[in-house]
């Protein structure tokens, strides 16, 4: 009988435990500082514009949307559309956040073809970490495109896209 009593006491204690956990969970949510969740949305896709392959080389597209050729050529009459990617980051007040860019080689493929080019060395402005102002900030992203001498003319892209991740510090 003494054993049973002990068992009851334990059960009651556990109930109290469970109840208090529930109660504390509710009150903690009510009193915690709830910040606006950080969010990011793409506003502009990245576009390297028109490129003459020439002897082959690279195009460095800066986060400001300026492209620098090495080995390849641009035609002033046919620049095409040149844009760095642009993202709108929103959140709480003036909080800071970390930026994660793709690190792996990213492949773009000729539309209605099989030829590919590699995009890597992603860069951004701001770089590494950003700081919201009045709850938002524009994040622009550039990268480096590698073009071969025999690159087949055409439009290259990747339907899957690349991810930019942000998180509060």
């Amino acid at each position: 009988m003494k054993q049973i009593t002990k068992f009851f006491a334990l059960a009651i204690l556990m109930l109290a435990f469970a109840a208090s956990t529930y109660a504390q969970t509710a009150s903690a949510i009510a009193t915690a500082t709830i910040v606006t969740p950080i969010a990011i949305s793409k506003t502009v896709d990245m576009n390297f514009g028109n490129i003459v392959a020439g002897v082959g080389g690279t195009v460095v597209l800066s986060p400001a949307g300026i492209r620098t050729p090495t080995g390849v050529t641009f035609l002033p009459t046919q620049p095409g559309t040149v844009t760095a990617a642009s993202f709108n980051v929103t959140g709480e007040g003036t909080l800071t956040y970390a930026i994660t860019l793709p690190v792996a080689n990213y492949t773009i493929t000729r539309i209605s073809g099989a030829e590919t080019m590699i995009v890597n060395t992603f860069t951004s402005t701001p770089s590494g970490a950003g700081a919201l102002a009045s709850g938002s900030q524009t994040l622009t992203v550039g990268a480096t495109l590698t073009v071969s001498a025999a690159q087949v003319p055409g439009v290259y892209t990747n339907a899957v896209g690349f991810n930019v991740t942000v998180n509060y510090n």
Binding site: A16, Q24, T33, D45, A53, P76, A85, V141, G161
Partner: protein, 177 residues
């Protein structure tokens, strides 16, 4: 027993408060997806921006010639009577690297135009262009140049060239080597 309960209660409070504080600070990271585009283009390109058109005319008893200059002016030799309609020289938009020189080659043999509904033909010869054809004749001063092309239409008699529309095609070569 009551003391133990209070102790556990306090522990639970501290524990849950700590956990919730961490949750409040560590909101999940969020991602957005962008796409990348690039277009590989040829160094040089040429495209027809207007078609050569001799306009309307009527052959006389002996036939004659209609000369369409690269400046789009029309002049007539022999018994041919021009009759309105639009006429204009052909034009080509040539583009590529700034200051690139190139050669222009016009057709060297007569080009045949064929009546659209019977086998009657008209010849075109006497090709002319601005800039003039030849090696290194063209220059893409700002990365482009417009080349105008005219020619001479050899019109036969009304029997040779009945009423109707005559069409044909010709090739102009722009060489950047």
């Amino acid at each position: 027993m009551k003391r133990l309960s209070v102790l556990i209660f306090s522990l639970v409070f501290i524990l849950s408060a700590t956990v919730l504080k961490v949750i409040a600070q560590v909101t999940p990271p969020v991602s957005a997806t962008g796409h990348i585009f690039a277009e590989i283009i040829s160094m040089y390109s040429a495209s027809e921006t207007s078609q050569m058109n001799f306009g309307r005319f009527s052959p006389g008893p002996q036939g004659g010639q209609i000369i369409l200059s690269p400046e789009s002016t029309i002049s007539v030799l022999g018994s041919v009577f021009t009759g309105g309609g639009t006429h204009n020289a052909a034009s080509f938009y040539v583009s590529g690297e700034v200051d690139a020189a190139y050669s222009i080659s016009l057709p060297t043999s007569p080009v045949v135009l064929t009546h659209i509904s019977d086998a009657k033909t008209i010849l075109i010869e006497g090709w002319a262009s601005i800039p003039s054809p030849g090696i290194g004749a063209g220059m893409l001063q700002e990365g482009f140049q417009v080349v105008y092309v005219g020619a001479t239409l050899k019109v036969g008699t009304l029997n040779d060239n009945p009423v109707g529309i005559y069409t044909g095609s010709y090739t102009i070569t722009f060489d950047f080597n």
